[in-house]
Amino acid sequence: MTGTLKVEIWRGAEEGHFEAFEVPTQPSQTVLDLVTYVQRKLDPSLAYRFACRVGVCGSCAMMVNGTPRWTCRTHVNKVAAEGKVRIAPLRNLPVIKDLATDMAPFFDRMQEAKGRFVPSEAAAKDVAVVPPDDPKRKEAAAGIECIGCAVCHSACDVVAWRPDYLGPAALNRAWTLVNDVRDGDRQGHLAAVAVDAGCHACHSHQSCAEHCPVGLNPSRSIAGLKQLVLWAAVRGEL
């Protein structure tokens, strides 16, 4: 398989334009390979982000032909439409330069959702025994492998409509914590997501689950939070 591919890459910040490059094709080429080729051989001023190249670090996500994807694990032949690939910075985040977005708003939402483990006294004193088949343990395990790539954040229309929305990744994180029996502040986690821009702002579009590259289901986590928040409110705990 030899030949070239037309690669259009966003240049600029919020204001900018697509610049076209011709990139030689290769077998098993990833979208990240295309961007790296452009940066190394054609235009060293191109700004983009990556680290691990194997789907672990979550830093390489971009819009590829209009869809948010982890570029290091996205094969070109899966996404090239009519011999063309259009690569843009992740949606729903401020653009710093070219393909590099400012991830601060994304990680700020994690903090706002109280996405931090709060050690409980009991858990600090002794090793907690959590059986692998415990239902809560299973719920936490289902959501824990988030790589923080912001693909879901970018795919979610509610994030686009109201930027204060905590978003799928932060809510998914909160869900893993309320299911963590070692955590000492379940009430605090629930209060943090029960706000106006919290779990109840989600409309169950499921674009997050549809796009999460590691197959997590933030919609499911958010549905779980909605129930916990509802019952906590009914019991007057919130």
Binding site: A155, S204, Q206, S207, N217, S219, R220, A223
Partner: protein
């Protein structure tokens, strides 16, 4: 990005919800006027006109689509998660279709 079943179901739900919010008041006002202005049997004659019937059928179809779609959402949010929930979109659509078709058949029979 929006090309998947759940998003389409959301669009249908929002459009039917907004359409209901727009047309339900009109429907009630027109009904009220008709009942006020006329005696009951004249109203019944009025409401037998094809246009009125079609408008009513449209409302019922909208309500059926929205109500079953809404029940589906409530099930997602209030029942334990089911990996079969995507099939519910189909069931909700089928139920709405059945109710809608039933009403149309009955009112035009």
């Amino acid at each position: 990005m929006r090309k998947h079943r759940s998003y389409r179901a959301f669009l249908v739900h929002r459009i039917s919800g907004v359409a209901l919010a727009l047309f339900l008041p009109v429907h009630l006002v027109v009904l009220g006027l008709a009942v006020e202005a006329a005696a009951l049997d004249r109203f019944l004659v009025w409401s037998a006109q094809p246009l009125v019937k079609a408008a009513e059928a449209g409302l019922v179809v909208l309500l059926a689509i929205h109500a079953f779609g809404g029940l589906r959402l409530l099930a997602i949010e209030l029942l334990p998660w089911s990996d079969r929930q995507k099939d519910w979109i189909g069931w909700a659509a089928a139920a709405a279709l059945a109710v809608g078709a039933g009403f149309i058949l009955r009112s035009f029979a």
